[in-house]
Symmetry: C2
Subunit: 399 residues, 2 copies
């Protein structure tokens, strides 16, 4: 039987924020926690030793990508994800449904989960091309790698995730967009519910499995989806799909869902801006995953704490390419103790970035991941010591 | 006064191979040694902590590149190369003359030092453009970064290298090509001799300085250049310029030069294939520098020892992109103990390479650098134990 367990250790008196521990056979995850994403079995620019050195508790890999490259059966034969990527801690995999959305519908409409455009502009040709066909039985999608058509349904998603051998897997779902209307979102939610039951049927109980709550930004659908998914024997609850057209909508969606949930652990898929972390922890989220720390690092955006000038306005980031850092002998964030900040100056990092040196990407990613992990540590300490709101105010200002 | 000293500790009875120690104020270099190249103040894909972990004794950075980007005066203000790149060991810089050749004449003619074409094909437009004008007073060259014209002479090269603050610097020289005829090569050699004296005049004796022997692949010129450069009070001898039209010519050139040298240390510029290392150590070279281990790593070529199937024919390399490694659970080289081979399979590295994951470049570079350093260690042990030729035969086969 599965070795998985979530315990709430402490609750914040003034909000739904809570301190907890997810126990798996490969180690524990102290929550609230930000899970770094290892899309193709590597957190981009880092290796498993870097993750160990950073104290990363767990990581999340992508079913869609790994199914296509190098193939989940190849990974299975090489010892599963843990053996393949050399990481011994707990690993999550997603269901593949989100990529079918983001690389299909989302890409066509150039839109992301909360109504924004994708940060990297897609070209018109890509947008015109229909990359996904969603039917009641599953999703047909065109591989972004070789253009071949593939099919994914609950059974297949479970098989792939079993082959990958993650500790925590996700039920198969359909992710909708903020552009989807009520009727489409409802239809997709019904499919997601059907697929949730099928996922449990095709799941062998050696991995923990989270159900995914859908319903877009429609109150009655979110209520219905929360009740249905929570009624099934999932080990944890994930919140997916469109979260509306901005951060306020996202908070609203969480306020509809969370009060209806029991004590099982709650994962918010694909969210990771610093203000979102505070707002969603406050609303009762235990874990997050997002590619943003490493993605923004690759684009020259490095996290900055409030002590070093980080604010909501600058999104707690500096842009290392700025000429103002050309001769700056200070570390990225003088209040940071990561291995990059301990050794290298802004001037050196700027030089590496401007010169497109490969070394830059790793040093920058180490800083941004370390920064997020330390933020989560501070949040956990804040909850434990009854100072969560004090911490939030220090970072986000008076609300 | 300068803290620099070279001692021969042991000589091979059957050849000119020798074991030695270069002492600098930042540490010692056991020779024969292969010096990894940090073109732009970083060994590509690695950081200074990686170099420490690899046990890298010293590194070589490029005057030409760093003068242009970020600028040697910027680096000076940031603590020199050691402070800038966070590396405390001995650092060499070259004179800038080779880049003026390779990015000027060499690029125009698509030719490298030993008559081969540059591994990365230059486009016709680049070749047509005249990027360098060499005169008796110095070299005018067009920056490869922004197309602006710059001027380099002995005085300027000494100033730049003083700003960079390397422990071991090179006299300013003109590097000729295998395509240069006798008369041109002679003229360039005369200039190099003039510049060698000027380099000493403009050098403040806080850094060790090597003279560079030129003369192409013409016996009388190499004799003349060796005698002249060796007559000057340089701390070490470097051998530069065209080494003929193939490996045999290179051995011939060394056989002309080395017997005329005294006990000062000898550096061979820009050479680093495994068979070359053996042949040149045998002929009395103490140190080498070359970008090849990291460059070939980035292109998917990973070193393989004889125990694991490396031969002269396969250049002691495997090509990780080959489908044969798709499910190969073995490390790159089962006889290697580097951190990459200790943790990751060929299958994982192939997956990272095929997926263009940034993580690949570092793991591959670590392996290739480690491999070269261990080879040098074996060569040193071979000389010490009187087994150099045995080792050479094991690697290169019966001669």
């Amino acid at each position: 039987m599965i070795d998985f367990n979530f315990k709430v250790l402490e609750e914040d008196g003034e909000s739904r924020a809570r301190l907890g521990t997810i126990k798996t056979k490969r180690g524990s995850i102290q929550t609230p926690y930000f899970v770094p994403v290892a899309t193709l079995a590597t957190v981009k620019a880092l290796d498993a030793c870097d993750l160990l050195a950073l104290g990363v508790q767990c990581t999340l890999a992508n079913t869609y990508h790994l199914h296509l490259k190098p193939g989940d059966e190849v990974i299975k034969r090489l010892g599963g994800l843990h053996g393949f990527m050399g990481f011994d801690g707990p690993i999550f995999t997603d269901s593949g449904g989100f990529q079918a959305f983001s690389l299909g519908f989302g890409r066509e409409h150039n839109i992301n989960k909360i109504g924004g455009v994708f940060p990297d502009g897609r070209n018109a040709e890509e947008k015109r091309e229909n990359l996904t066909k969603i039917q009641d039985n599953g999703i047909y999608f065109k591989s972004i790698y070789d253009g071949a058509w593939h099919f994914l349904d609950a059974k297949k998603s479970m098989q792939i995730q079993a082959n990958l051998g993650a500790d925590i897997i996700m039920a198969f779902d359909e992710c909708t967009s903020p552009l989807s209307d009520y009727n489409y979102t409802k239809m997709a939610m019904k499919r997601t519910h059907e697929w949730a039951s099928q996922s449990l049927d095709h799941h062998d109980r050696t991995q923990a499995i989270y159900g995914i709550i859908q319903g877009g930004w429609f109150e009655d659908l979110r209520h219905e989806s929360t009740e249905f998914i929570a009624s099934l024997p999932f080990d944890g609850m994930a919140i997916g799909g469109s979260l509306g057209n901005g951060k306020k909508d996202m908070h609203q969606v969480l306020d509809w869902i969370i009060p209806k949930l029991d004590d099982r652990t709650r994962h918010l898929l694909g969210i990771g801006d610093i203000d979102d972390i505070f707002e969603c922890v406050q609303r009762g989220i235990d874990t997050f995953d997002c590619v943003s720390p490493t993605r923004i690092a690759r684009r020259g955006n490095l996290y900055l704490s409030p002590e070093s000038g980080g604010t909501l306005d600058n999104k707690f980031r500096l842009s290392i390419k700025s000429t103002r850092y050309k001769e700056d002998p200070n570390p990225i964030d003088p209040a940071c103790y990561c291995s990059t900040c301990s050794r290298y100056s802004r001037a050196y990092l700027r030089h590496l970035y401007i010169s497109k040196e490969l070394t830059y990407f790793r040093l920058a990613s180490i800083h941004n991941i370390y920064f997020m992990l330390r933020l989560m540590e501070k949040i956990r300490y804040g909850i434990k010591s009854g100072a969560f709101f004090e911490l939030k105010e220090k970072w986000l200002g008076k609300i």
